[in-house]
């Protein structure tokens, strides 16, 4: 045990010195390549080179080269494609906020009450794992292909993570804390503000993060299915083989997805620390 700890410490020490060394002398190629950025450089570099070479060999009808894709991102601006994307995203945000308004109170209810948990959880769990995509043709019949339809699909997709996470977060709140607060006749509002919210906040933010990812998926699915808005851009660029446009828009959507995901992850970490301190202090 002591030996293993010593070894772990030694390993850590080696890593620390390695890192320090990297920062000081990045000129030695071998040392750089042995770090984590070295392998990243090799693998990601190989992927990019593979893409570029494939595109150059097969031509723009098969895949755009990297410079063509970057130019496509600028061209998409000139062609006003981003205003279409922006419009789609605005509708997505409406749907997403609507889903949060329903999902977070519902999740809190499921987390607080056993009866509601038993009554509602089977549906939440079942719909969560089964295919929401099969409902899309039905939604077209119900809501048409306009604003309502897109919002409805986004709600259908984004709904489940916030419900489940809020329920888990509320369940996670320390029971002793609740009992102590009750013993001191804490008001409902203060209980909510000082105990439930900080305790469940990291979970809720995780739910919002995952829900937002699903909302993005929902809007893309909804729009590709009826071929409107950004979905139409993607489908037409694909079928006309304007692949530089396609790749440009796809990259922008991917960047939005990854960016919001990472941003909310950072917020979640901060809230988790905060909740932790709150529990201890």
């Amino acid at each position: 045990m002591a030996n293993s700890l010593a070894k772990a410490k030694e390993k850590q020490q080696v890593q620390i010195t390695k890192k320090a060394h990297e920062r000081k002398a990045p000129s030695t190629l071998g040392r750089l390549l042995s770090g984590k950025w070295g392998l990243r450089l090799i693998v990601y570099g190989a992927l990019l080179v593979g893409w570029q070479v494939t595109a150059m060999v097969k031509g723009p009808f098969f895949a755009p080269t990297i410079p063509e894709t970057l130019a496509g991102i600028a061209d998409a601006w000139a062609n006003g494609y981003y205003s279409i994307l922006f419009d789609s995203l605005r509708q997505m945000i409406v749907g997403f906020l609507l889903s949060l308004v329903i999902a977070i109170p519902l999740g809190a209810l499921i987390g607080r009450s056993r009866v509601m948990d038993d009554l509602l959880s089977p549906y939440v769990n079942t719909l969560f794992v089964t295919s929401k995509e099969a409902l899309i043709p039905l939604f077209v019949i119900l809501f048409g292909i306009g604003f309502q339809y897109r919002v409805a699909v986004v709600v259908l997709f984004a709904f489940f993570f916030p419900v489940m996470n809020t329920a888990a977060g509320v369940r996670f709140v320390d029971q002793h804390l609740i009992e102590t607060a009750r013993a001191f006749c804490t008001s409902r509002w203060r209980m909510f503000k000082a105990i439930y919210l900080p305790g469940a906040a990291p979970f809720i933010v995780a739910g919002i993060r995952l829900g937002l990812g699903m909302a993005l998926k929902g809007f893309v699915i909804a729009e590709i299915w009826v071929i409107t808005g950004t979905g139409r851009l993607l489908v037409e660029a694909g079928s006309l083989r304007l692949l530089d446009t396609y790749f440009a828009i796809a990259l922008v959507i991917a960047a939005i997805g990854i960016g919001t995901n990472e941003g909310l992850k950072a917020l979640e970490r901060r809230l988790r620390q905060h909740a932790h301190l709150g529990n201890e202090g």
Binding site: Y44, F62, D118, T126, V129, L135, I136, P137, R241
Partner: protein, 268 residues
């Protein structure tokens, strides 16, 4: 499951069961199902949402469709794509996840890619999947693979990373070979995580296969649903959606049972 998944054995636990249900819970489930069907019937009859037919029309339609065998054939076709992609996803995802779990350097390469794969809407790739892999089986399996592989990789790498340092050190002290390290230490420890990943991956495979049957060449369940919708046979459309949901939920239940059955040795 979660108790086994955390692997904490410091507290004595009750014998592991699939789930401990009390009669109240079963009563509430029954009540919940009754409320659901009643609400559906009321909404269906009231005609507020014209497309929602009441279960008293949908369930007979489902019975007729089952009798004719059409919906079953369509389901089997979709599930074949799902299983094919699931097997490929498992064969690819578990080794990649293990690599990411064992090596910090590979994790730094693999994790960002997997994270990106999580955050990006997969359906977005439908237009180019149809270019590179076609509208048929290859394209469908590829789309489904993109749906299921990331969850398998993430769960595997998490499980492998959670193997306690002391355990590996101990095994090494006893002169364990590299192969045995995997067979006797790493995989048994990471097993619950991997199985959970496989279960979630199976669910996503079914989703992906339905997605592929809708968005690539309409076929099997996708074609069935599209036909019912475009010919406005609403009770058949609802019957199909209801059936798909039941089949997927049943499949997940079987997977959960199988998971429990494989891990029953773990907590005694």
């Amino acid at each position: 499951m979660t108790t086994a998944a955390t692997g904490r054995l410091d507290k004595p636990r009750r014998k592991h069961r699939v789930s401990r249900v009390n009669p109240y819970q079963i009563g509430r489930w029954v009540l919940s199902i009754l409320i659901f069907f009643m609400a559906w019937e009321i909404v269906g009859r009231s005609g507020v949402l014209f497309a929602i037919k009441p279960p008293s029309e949908v369930l007979p339609a489902l019975r007729d469709e089952l009798a004719s065998g059409e919906i079953l054939a369509a389901t089997v076709g979709t599930l074949q794509v799902a299983f094919l992609a699931f097997v490929i996803g498992a064969l690819f995802g578990i080794p990649v996840g293990t690599l990411s779990g064992v090596s910090v350097r590979w994790a730094s390469v693999i994790d960002p890619l997997v994270g990106a794969g999580w955050a990006v809407p997969i359906v977005m790739f439908v237009p180019i999947i149809s270019i590179y892999a076609g509208f048929d089986l290859l394209g469908k399996v590829f789309l489904t693979l993109l749906m299921n592989v990331f969850v398998i990789i993430v769960n595997t790498s998490t499980g492998v990373r959670e193997v306690p340092f002391e355990l590996k050190e101990m095994a090494r002290a006893f002169g364990i070979s590299k192969r045995q390290m995997y067979r006797k230490v790493i995989f048994p420890w990471a097993g619950p995580y991997i199985l959970t990943g496989l279960r979630l991956g199976l669910g996503r495979s079914v989703q992906g296969a339905i997605l592929a049957d809708l968005f690539l060449r309409a076929d099997n369940l996708g074609l069935y649903i599209v036909n019912a919708a475009s010919s406005f046979q609403l009770e058949i459309l609802l019957a199909a959606v209801f059936f798909v949901t039941l089949v997927a939920a049943g499949l997940m239940l079987v997977a959960r049972f199988f998971e429990w059955w494989l891990l029953r040795w773990k907590v005694g």
